[in-house]
Symmetry: C2
């Protein structure tokens, strides 16, 4: 191990020397991500490394409030989403939910909250045609896609849902989709395999117009708990799904490098 | 893009078929991570994919309370820590802190909280000799390492520190290290390049014995805010550094796949 320690020491020293020529004066704009980081002993530019860092930054809630993904990461993100890693990452999150469930004594007052988009249903067929988050959000085009009611299930989430149903846990869907899309969302859920639920809560614009997802979702979760239910778990692809109040006994963050909702 | 959509559809369909044969009945123990996930269209086992998922799960606060890292990920985690990705991931976090600082009007009542281990100082030379988190925590051996006062700076954190000092932001170190290691920690910080600070808070066992890091760190941050300071930012490698109360205007999570402190 001695040689290894030496290598680490050299690497650390090299980091320090090499680090000083890079500053804190890159792009004041949140949307710009300087992809071409100098990394490695040779100072090479490695976009894969940078895009992976960007995604990790998003997942760990360090990078917030972005409206589009970095242009140079479109390829990386597209490959991620259609490849093994996305599936494996999702499975790992759901697996932690199973482990957690095993520690509980479920009662008929226990409820589990699911977000919908990129949590229970996947809009990947839409985003594959819209740059995987590289294009700014296009409400008209996205609504048209939603109205097809054709979004497939996220397979790992569907398995978690089935487990929860079999345990008798109450199922709560809380989505940022508007009231006007409630019917098509209900039929899409059924078509994708989510055949029953106890609540399907869509965003009522007469109550929540202009409110953040955190505010809206917290209030709706609170209503459920005020009815005497206990939210044992809460899963979403956005931090705004799992932050705020009444978040649940444990929260689970599914990966989503495509967009950010506050 | 049509072909791409078709490919996505096929991939999604394949996921669904392939997903159903895997259950929720893997390992009831939180410490065991079933690495050999079936991923990919061919159903191959790809440990790199699984270890990356495990790490993402840790960073996004889905995998919690682990005492050792998965044995089969030691190689992956070791390579990560001595390679480009760790540096790039850390840089990306610190960069977000710079962007955030640019949006603020700093006053002399503004303070920034740093954790120490794996945040300002790196214990990589120690962990390289102790399996990168694969060995259970060994207090005697770790204390011996700490007492050397030889931990190098994490270079990206040092740059952030220097920026904050130049802006006149008050520097607060809050560490889980005990009061008895305060002096060696102070000299180690100076040796590593952190030459001044306004608070260096170590854990007083007469107050916080048996308390979690979240409780201890929240109370110490609260004291600082009660003295009239405003914590504008807070950076740590553990979620317990940045959860709780008085967390600061924004929080930043540096990567750490080696250990978990609640």
């Amino acid at each position: 191990m001695k040689v290894f320690v030496l290598f680490v020491a050299v690497a650390v020293a090299t980091w320090q020397c090499q680090g000083s020529d890079e500053g804190d004066d890159h792009g004041a704009n949140f949307q710009i991500f300087p992809l071409r980081m100098k990394t490695g002993l040779g100072g090479h530019y490695i976009p894969e490394v940078s895009c992976q860092s960007w995604m990790l930054g998003v997942e760990a809630h360090n990078i917030i409030g972005f409206s589009t993904v970095p242009k140079d990461c479109i390829g990386y993100i597209g490959n991620y989403l259609v490849g093994d890693q996305y599936r494996s990452d999702s499975k790992t999150v759901c697996r932690e939910a199973y482990f957690y469930l095993k520690t509980l004594n479920i009662t008929d007052k226990d409820a589990w909250v699911f977000d919908i988009d990129e949590t229970t249903l996947s809009n990947l067929p839409y985003y594959a045609d819209h740059g995987f988050g590289a294009e700014p959000y296009n409400p008209a085009a996205f609504d048209k896609w939603v109205d097809l009611g054709a979004a497939p299930a996220l397979p790992e989430s569907l398995k978690l849902y089935r487990k929860l149903v079999s345990l008798g846990v109450k199922i709560v869907f809380i989505t940022g989709r508007p009231l006007s899309q409630r019917d098509v969302t209900a039929s899409n859920l059924k078509r994708a395999g989510y055949d029953k639920w106890d609540w399907l809560i869509t965003k009522d614009p007469s109550i929540y117009n202009g409110k953040t997802a955190v505010t809206y979702k917290s209030k709706e979760r609170r209503k459920i708990e005020e009815e005497g239910y206990n939210i044992i778990g809460n899963i979403g692809d956005q931090w705004s799904d799992i932050l705020g109040t009444n978040v649940g006994g444990r929260t689970f963050k599914l990966p989503d490098p495509m967009y950010y909702i506050s």
